[in-house]
């Protein structure tokens, strides 16, 4: 088998990123949209860690940890908004969230 190089990881990360983008752009369920965002963040993380290995220093991994922190904050805030929204409109579909005020 071929040696696994940085490029391999970049391909996987790109695939995950595109999948995430497709999810964000096409799905209606907000929960799944949020999950797709997690997918995108993970793709980015994978790239960062792969580059960290390529350059032989740890800055990429540090960045990845910060992105995990960011993802946690995003999930907490996003799901909070979702629950508050569901209480008021009883829907979790993005295309029904089309009023600025109700």
């Amino acid at each position: 088998m071929v040696e696994i190089t940085t490029l391999h990881y970049l391909v996987v990360a790109a695939a995950l990123f595109v999948l995430g983008v497709i999810g964000v752009l096409t799905r209606r369920n907000v929960v799944i949209v949020l999950m797709s965002i997690e997918l995108i963040l993970n793709a980015v993380n994978l790239n960062l860690v792969a580059f960290s290995r390529m350059w032989g220093n740890l800055h990429g991994q540090i960045f990845a940890i910060f992105i995990v922190v960011d993802a946690a904050a995003e999930a907490a805030a996003g799901l909070g908004i979702l629950i508050a929204f569901f209480r008021n409109k009883e829907t979790v579909n993005v295309d029904e969230i089309d009023l600025l005020k109700w």
Binding site: I83, F86, R87, N88, E90
Partner: protein
């Protein structure tokens, strides 16, 4: 205190419930400004480990908070009151044991005394003493059963086995006295069927000596247990006014601070001759009900001790005609069963069978307080409160 009739009781409970918030039954859905996402309707029972039989409680929950309850009863309905209309007074006696099967002796006492009152006969003093001893032992046994199951509902497994170990001693005395352990049919109209067996008094005294430290043992497990305190204090609070309005009796009423015990208020059997106290609580919460019942066990032991030391000699059966044919009339007689006021209302048309027999079971009336007690609490508290009311479904459904 004059005898309360059923109508009065119902009136009181209707007032209480109309003042309470019953809007959960027809939930107002027109208000769209705030939709509750978590509302959940749960069927607790009729097959549920903590509803003490076949009680079904429909819970309306917000998350785990109880918005309202509705009790559905009747799964154990056997038509006891209707059966009474087709049996002679003597033949009906064993049926009452099957109502509150955890306190069969008390049921029998209430029925026999009601019929005696109707017949205008009186049991001889020795029979009355035997009745008091057995009934108070039964009260202890009933409270033991309550304590074990109540603690089990709250999650403490061990007290159940301790109380059953000690309840066994009481049941042994019953078995030796009348041959049955649970549905004893111990008393007859006009007195007792059986003379005490040889060594009865010794057995009872042995039991008293055996049981005194056991109550302390229960208390070491629970009374100061931190988790027990947190689970029972300020849980299922019912105020004295609410309790009276709903017709609640027994330890549940006394825990709310009302000193009302039929043994003192309208003494029956030989209770006027004994010295005992009526424990009362202050907060009306689950913990107070626990304390009241624990103290009641101690007071029952006091009564039994006095009775067994002063038991008079003499006949055990009063002058009762061979065929029991009470005069036309009606009677309401109630006693203090372990769970509260147990009343019998008998209408006689002069024949050998009652024209109508109505039972006022304590569990049935006390169960009405469930809704007020659990509203705003959590699911876990519903279980604790059902346990603390101490219901027996055989008595609720009859």
């Amino acid at each position: 205190m004059s005898e309360r009739t059923d109508d009065q009781t119902n009136d009181a409970s209707n007032r209480a419930l109309s003042s309470a918030d019953r809007s959960y039954l027809d939930l107002d859905t027109s208000d769209k400004t705030y939709l509750d996402s978590n509302e959940l309707v749960i069927n607790m029972g009729p097959q549920h480990p903590a509803t003490h039989g076949v009680l079904r409680v429909i819970l309306k929950l917000d998350g785990e908070r109880v918005l309202g309850t509705e009790c559905v009863i009747g799964y154990l309905h056997r038509g006891v009151e209707k059966i009474a209309e087709n049996r002679t007074y003597t033949m009906f006696n064993p049926y009452v044991d099957r109502m509150d099967y955890c306190a069969a002796v008390s049921n029998g006492l209430g029925y026999c005394e009601a019929v005696e009152k109707l017949l205008n006969v009186e049991a001889p003093p020795r029979a009355k003493y035997i009745r008091v001893i057995l009934t108070e032992l039964q009260r202890i046994a009933s409270h033991q059963l309550w304590l074990g199951t109540h603690a089990l509902d709250i999650g403490a497994m061990t007290p159940l086995f301790y109380t059953f170990r000690d309840r066994e001693e009481i049941l042994k005395i019953f078995e030796k006295y009348c041959g049955a352990r649970l549905t004893t049919h111990a008393f007859r109209i006009g007195g007792c069927q059986y003379e005490t067996y040889a060594g009865f008094e010794k057995d009872v005294k042995n039991f008293l000596a055996f049981f005194a430290p056991k109550i302390d043992e229960y208390e070491t497990l629970l009374t100061t247990n931190r988790i027990w305190l947190e689970r029972t204090r300020n849980v299922g609070v019912i105020s004295a006014a609410d309790a009276i309005a709903l017709g609640v009796t027994g330890p549940v009423l006394r825990a709310s601070g009302v000193q009302w015990d039929l043994r003192k208020a309208q003494p029956y059997a030989a209770y006027s001759e004994f010295d005992f106290e009526i424990p009362v609580g202050t907060n009306g919460d689950t913990y107070d009900r626990y304390l009241v019942r624990m103290e009641e066990m101690r007071q029952s032991m006091r009564i039994v001790e006095q009775a067994v030391n002063a038991i008079p000699e003499g006949p055990i059966m009063g002058k009762v005609p061979k065929v029991i044919k009470p005069p036309v009339g009606e009677i309401y007689h109630s006693i203090e069963a372990p769970k509260g006021e147990l009343g019998y209302f008998i209408v006689s048309d002069g024949s050998t069978q009652p024209y109508r027999l109505r039972v006022r079971p304590p569990s049935f009336v006390n169960l009405q307080a469930l809704d007020i007690m659990v509203r705003g609490l959590l699911v876990a508290d519903v279980v604790a409160v059902i346990g603390t009311i101490d219901i027996v479904l055989g008595e609720v459904d009859r």
